[in-house]
Amino acid sequence: MTATTTVTGSQDAAPDARPPRRGNLLSKIAAPYKQSHGVQRFMLITGTVLSLAFILMAIFAPLIAPYSFDTYQDAQGRFPQQGAPTSRNHWGTTVQGFDVLSRTIFGARTAVEVVLLAVIFSIAIGVPLGLISGYVGGWVDRILVLVMDALFAFPYLLLAIVAAFLLKNTIDSGIVTTAIAITVVYVPQYFRVVRASTLSAREATYIEAARAMGARPRTIIRRYLFGNVIQSVPVIGTLNAADSILTLAGLGFLGLGIQPTEAAEWGYDLQRAVADAGAGIWWTALFPGLGIVLAVTSLTLVGEGLNDVLNPTLRRRRVNKPRITSYTMNESGAVGPASAPEVEEDVG
């Protein structure tokens, strides 16, 4: 047997004798940031910073905002209606006398809450369904695809409206209702992407090897397919989150979203500010509008940046062009020839 060979224990023999990489979560998250460069990196970092800013704003809203979202007076009396920005209301007041700055900040909180819930629900439903549908195939797959395609065919806002409308009377919390309405719209996306990934991963030899071992479909899906298929989900997640903010705002604009007494919502504020523009009142629409734009943009930047880094077809590693020398030394001596090899006189 080959155990009796005698060869020098050169450290340079491939493969490397490095300790095994343990892919823990933190390093997995940090990886795209380290690997990216150029425009991708700019997008990724800008997007992440902005998104984090929004999330922080949402978490610390009660501490940051001068008033609550439904405060219409303070110690000095009622706020003016549609009042211009002053030191008392830094960003002015709305037609109902609420402070615009506070409502914008609390609007961020609402957006984060709803979108987070929606994304979690969508993933929890869409991903397992996609895995099962892709792996099992047959009539299960056909039915699920039919349902998902039907959902997908609806204009998303319409679908959200219908869902919100139907749920309005069953669930109390406007936030949960809206989140569910948005979930309904986005589940097909996760389903599709995961199903497509599963369909192609299913043909891989290691899946066949798992079958050859005697593993049950449930185990194969859980231990073999899941980890390899889930890579596209973070990108979809962030892009969906960006889209969800728009859907949420749309619902709010139409008055079908959150009730104004329950929480502040940018879309609702925009709707109330529609008439103001003609009257020269710019502060009631500008700030909620900016909130939406910046939130969507930051999440999209993160999503696209991630996509560029993680997607192997788009990914371009940072590559340093090497400097070529003809003669290299390392500790043990010459590693390369000095120049063109000397050739002895031709014989014959």
Binding site: V7, T8, A14, N320, G336, E344, E345
Partner: protein, 340 residues
């Protein structure tokens, strides 16, 4: 002696990599004469594919190069992209490994040929182009009745023959064939090899045949260059090298090849070296059964071992070995971890 069709002079191609530069091709000098088939043999990771592509100026992204690839008196690595593109096709042709993926499935074979000829020889005219295409296809054994079929209607072997015809129809001076038969069955491979062997007789094309299979080389090539860790360790007439190899690696590789006459299995211990930090001295010394102390310390000279034969090994330059270093190299027992 006529001038070579293509001449590689101390060619180096290094890739940038996170861990350091990969020295895929590290000082290769090779001449290709017109009408000659040179086999480039090596295992995976020796740099032969990089070399094959580098010869046509197809360098990977982020690769640095040094040395020359001389074609018609010019170094093609220094040419502007536009000039280089003009050369590819009518002067420098390439045959790839996987014929299945290299033909456009939406275009008929006739369309492939017409396009190629229209781009590179626009003065030909449609009728003459068709005649040339059919003639080349006939040389490959493809009947003219199938000229208007789509790629998927042909088998793998026929597609490879169509690829070869596409490369030949422009009558290039040099063709690089990168593992043209690796993906094909034995009988088909034999057919293609026969076609390649006939190329030597009928055309004046210089062919660089890249492969890992020594059996192919013995039959289809005039000369052989054996590649290891980015260097050509031995080159010379195919017959000589396959019957009486001079370099230990060539010898071990021949012995490892399983053929019908194999009675005992033989393998080369260890694994091909890491091209980022190759071993000092002779790159084969960690695995060489004939290694001496000098092999681990000093770069071996290139010695002419016969007419038109060169080998890079201390075994042929024993007079030049410093005193005391001719003793066999002592190596510790290899950890099984280093085995491939």
């Amino acid at each position: 002696m006529s001038a070579p069709a293509l001449s590689l002079r101390d060619l180096r191609i290094w890739y940038g990599h996170e861990r350091g530069a990969v020295r895929a091709v590290d000082g290769v000098s090779l001449d290709l004469m017109p009408g000659e088939t040179v086999g480039l043999v090596g295992e995976s990771g020796c740099g032969k594919s990089t070399l094959g592509r580098g010869v046509l100026g197809l360098l990977p992204e982020g690769a640095g190069h040094a040395g020359e690839v001389v074609y018609q008196g010019r170094n093609i690595l220094e040419l502007k992209p536009k000039e280089l593109r003009a050369l590819r096709g009518p002067d420098l042709g390439m045959i790839f490994q996987e014929p299945m993926t290299r033909l456009n499935p939406l275009m008929k074979i006739s369309a492939h040929f017409e396009e190629v000829l229209k781009i590179h020889e626009p003065e030909l005219g449609k009728k003459e182009a068709r005649r040339r295409a059919l003639e080349t296809l006939r040389g490959m054994g493809i009947p003219p009745t199938r000229y208007h079929q789509y790629p998927h209607e042909f088998s793998g072997g026929m597609r490879q023959r169509i690829m070869i015809a596409l490369a030949l129809v422009l009558r290039p001076a040099v063709i690089v064939a990168d593992e043209p038969t690796t993906a094909l069955d034995v009988l088909v491979e034999a057919q293609i090899l026969r076609i390649i062997a006939d190329l030597r007789r009928n055309f004046d094309t210089a062919l660089l045949l890249i492969t890992h299979n020594l059996g192919i080389v013995a039959e289809a090539c005039d000369r052989v260059a054996v590649m290891y860790a980015g260097r050509v360790v031995e080159q010379g007439p195919a017959y000589d090298i396959t019957t009486k190899p001079a370099h230990p690696y060539s010898r071990e590789l021949l012995r490892s090849t399983i053929s019908l006459s194999t009675t005992k299995l033989h393998s080369i211990p260890g694994a091909p070296p890491n091209l980022v930090t190759p071993p000092p001295g002779c790159r084969f010394h960690p695995r060489c059964p004939d290694a001496m102390k000098v092999c681990a310390e000093h770069w071996p000279p290139t010695i002419t071992t016969g007419p038109a034969r060169r080998s890079e090994c201390w075994l042929h330059a024993s007079e030049d070995i410093p005193a005391g270093l001719e003793a066999p190299l002592e190596r510790e027992a290899l950890a099984a971890a280093e085995e491939a």
